[in-house]
Amino acid sequence: MEDVRRVISIIVMNESSVLSRISGLFAGRGFNIESLTVAPIPDSQKSHITIVTKGSLRVIEQITKQLHKLIPVYKVIEHEEMIEKEMVLVKFPLGDNLADIKALCEAYNGTIVNVGASMVIGMVADEPVRIKHFIEASGRYNPMEVVRGGVVAIER
């Protein structure tokens, strides 16, 4: 069976060690994690975890079922029709190319978020493919540091 990429949202009860239950499940059963993000859901006792994973359809089915078996997991959503976004921060050395860097960020719907004495930080939030392209394009300005945020998704 061929591997497919899936974005899975997991709604969990806010309690200690719930994240380790989930990461432990992936490690113990040999499931793959490409990215993972977590944040509390406002005004609730729950958190939203987004995992991007890859596997055969049988493995993906096992992932959702095994996740669902964890006691503090309230809901598992295997996304199909979704809006998917990721954020990246890139730190560049400051030279005479600030205008070029700014133009690059803007081309990817991003912006310059900080300018220091010797560096400048650009930020882009977009679809994961576009983030990948942005990082590739940043290469020519010798980025000092690239920090990706991991994917979040919401069903349409």
């Binding site: 969990v12 009860m13 200690s16 060690s17 380790s20 239950r21 432990g24 113990g28 049988r58 089915e61 096992q62 079922k65 095994q66 669902h68 078996k69 006691i71 503090p72 997991v73 309230y74």
Partner: protein, 565 residues
């Protein structure tokens, strides 16, 4: 009412109807042991090792169907208990294990006897809790019992820091449980059940594939009724021995690596597998791509994750087997024509006549299979049989005439040597009036041999029949077959004096080498009502047959091995 955390634990156990707790004290759990000393609601059995305490609770749970309870201290007490948790986890046995933990203020400091118990036990428990606040303790205890026994059952660990057991709090034991994120599916989808029934009615060669879930769901009578109405032949897994009853004409036997010929052939030729609480374990299926190759599959399981995990399923039904099979009986009663499967039953009967389960008995040396059959003749359905892991376990599963569910207790999923003796203690506590016999090997028995002392002290007279081949026999068998007889570290010729060992610990011992001696010893042990070792010298090089080599197709069985004669 206001009370300490330690008292809360005792009160909760009593409220849950617990009558026996197996355990071992230590620093972090001492407050609870102090309350145990003062209360009269349950008895505490001091096993001589934490692993044995958990296995004993497990044996109790398997025999009675109730939740087993064990208690251990932090650090090494807990780590000793891990094998017990894992054993119960693999076989879906409901346990609540309470462990002491260092005080909250010391957690994370590498304190004395601190170990991350919830971290270590996460993959081998159904769920676990670390108690951070005494206010949470009553709810957590209630939820622990609820989670352990509902849905797909399993062990639950409650790790309690020492300061919490000393603190005073309000104790109102909850009467109901509502966990928003935990709602097991019990009923089974009616439309799916109907479709499955239609498929059964239309099949030509259907086969009941009965797993341990049938026993866990207390569905054995219903499954038997279903078989009898439809006259569909049945195979049992290692964990399901006893469901159909040894004399049931529809039962072909056990399938899998050491299954009998007709069972494995039935699975290879069936056109419809009706899987009832079984999980397609690799020791059952052999080579997956050849397993039930010509069949559609109905899979009834309480755990949705079991369905489609290893084989593609045509009729998935998630639910408690008791509910699902009742519904199936109702729907199929007036639809099914049992004669339809007549030709199929005939084929299987011919397979069975061709290669029945057999062994060559001998007058010169005791054969382990004979010993097991003889136990069956002497105590039969009256006894509860536990077992360790190895050849003796497989022979017991093959040759003992199991007649009812919960009569056969063994570690199937994890295959834990050392399980049988403490599990027998637990089973005997559950059914003091029944004869409880652990069929074991000279390797396995030593892995919890200290329980002789527990059994003597608490007068729990279980009988250990040691099928002594002076080998780690099952490993030796693989070495014979697959490693050109290089017997690397499996020769157990250096032996303790088992008779003297039993007697040194307050039990009774027998050395047996003939059939007459065996009968005498077993009857005497039953009459003496003391913990016993019956050390039976058996043929050293006997092999468990038939055998499907690991990874081979079920229909490729080794039926004979020239040199085993």
């Amino acid at each position: 009412m206001k009370m300490s955390g330690a008292q809360m634990i005792c009160e909760a156990l009593i409220a849950e109807g617990v009558t026996t707790v197996f355990g071992y004290p230590g620093g972090a759990i001492m407050n609870v042991y102090d309350e145990i000393y003062k209360q009269t609601g349950f008895e505490h059995i001091l096993n001589r090792h934490e692993q044995a305490a958990v296995h004993a609770a497990d044996g109790y749970a398997r025999a009675t169907g109730e939740v087993g309870v064990a208690m251990v201290t932090s650090g090494p007490g807990f780590t000793n208990a891990v094998t017990g948790l894992a054993t119960a986890y693999m076989d879906s046995i409901p346990l609540v294990v309470i462990s002491g933990q260092v005080p909250l203020s010391l957690i994370g400091t590498d304190g004395f006897q601190e170990i991350d118990a919830v971290g270590i036990s996460r993959p081998c428990t159904k769920h676990n809790f670390l108690v951070y606040d005494i206010k949470e303790l009553p709810r957590i205890l209630k939820e622990a019992f609820y989670i352990a026994k509902t849905g797909r059952a399993g062990p639950v660990l409650v790790d309690v820091p020492k300061d919490i057991t000393a603190q005073i709090g309000e104790f109102n034991y909850p009467t109901t449980v509502n966990i928003e994120s935990y709602k097991p599916t019990i009923k089974g989808n009616e439309k799916q059940i109907k479709k499955a029934v239609d498929a059964i009615v239309k099949a030509k060669k259907p086969l009941l594939y009965i797993g341990g879930g049938t026993i866990l769901s207390n569905a054995s009578d219903l499954v038997k009724e279903f078989a009898s109405i439809t006259q569909i032949p049945a195979v049992e897994t290692l964990m399901a021995r006893g469901v159909m009853g040894a004399t049931n004409p529809l039962l072909l036997g056990m399938l899998g690596m050491h299954g009998n010929y007709s069972s494995n052939m039935a699975m290879s030729e069936t056109d419809l597998v009706i899987s009832l609480g079984a999980r397609f374990d690799d020791r059952v299926t052999g080579k997956l791509s050849e397993f039930a190759k010509y069949a559609k599959i109905i899979h009834v399981d309480i755990d949705p994750a079991n369905i489609g995990k290893l084989v593609s399923v045509d009729y998935p039904i998630v639910g408690d087997l008791s509910f699902v099979i009742s519904k199936m009986i109702e729907l199929i009663k007036d639809e099914v024509n049992p004669d339809r499967y007549h030709a199929w039953r005939d084929i299987l009967a011919r397979y069975n006549a061709l290669h029945p389960l057999k062994y060559d008995d001998s007058d010169d040396v005791l054969k382990p299979q004979w010993v097991i059959e003889q136990i069956g003749k002497l105590v039969g359905e009256k006894a509860i049989i536990t077992s360790d892991v190895g050849q003796h376990q497989m022979w017991a599963a093959q040759f003992y005439p199991f007649d009812r569910p919960r009569q056969w207790i063994n570690s199937g999923g994890l295959g834990t040597m050392g399980f049988g003796f403490p599990a027998a203690l637990g089973a005997k506590r559950g059914f003091p009036e029944k004869t409880v016999i652990n069929i074991t090997g000279d390797g396995s028995i030593l892995m919890n041999v200290q329980e002789l002392v527990t059994a003597s002290e608490y007068k729990i007279p279980v009988i250990n029949v040691i099928l002594n081949n002076n080998f780690l026999g099952m490993v030796r068998q693989w070495q014979t077959f697959f490693y050109e007889k290089r017997y690397s570290s499996t020769d157990l010729s250096y032996q303790p004096n088992f008779k003297a060992l039993a007697e040194a610990c307050g039990g009774i011992g027998y050395d047996v080498a003939t059939k007459e001696e065996f009968d005498e010893a077993l009857l005497d042990a039953i009459a003496k009502d003391r913990v016993a070792f019956i050390n039976v010298s058996v043929n050293r090089f006997e092999n468990v047959l038939p055998m499907v080599p690991a990874g081979g197709a079920l229909y490729n069985m080794m039926l004979e091995h020239k040199e085993s004669k």
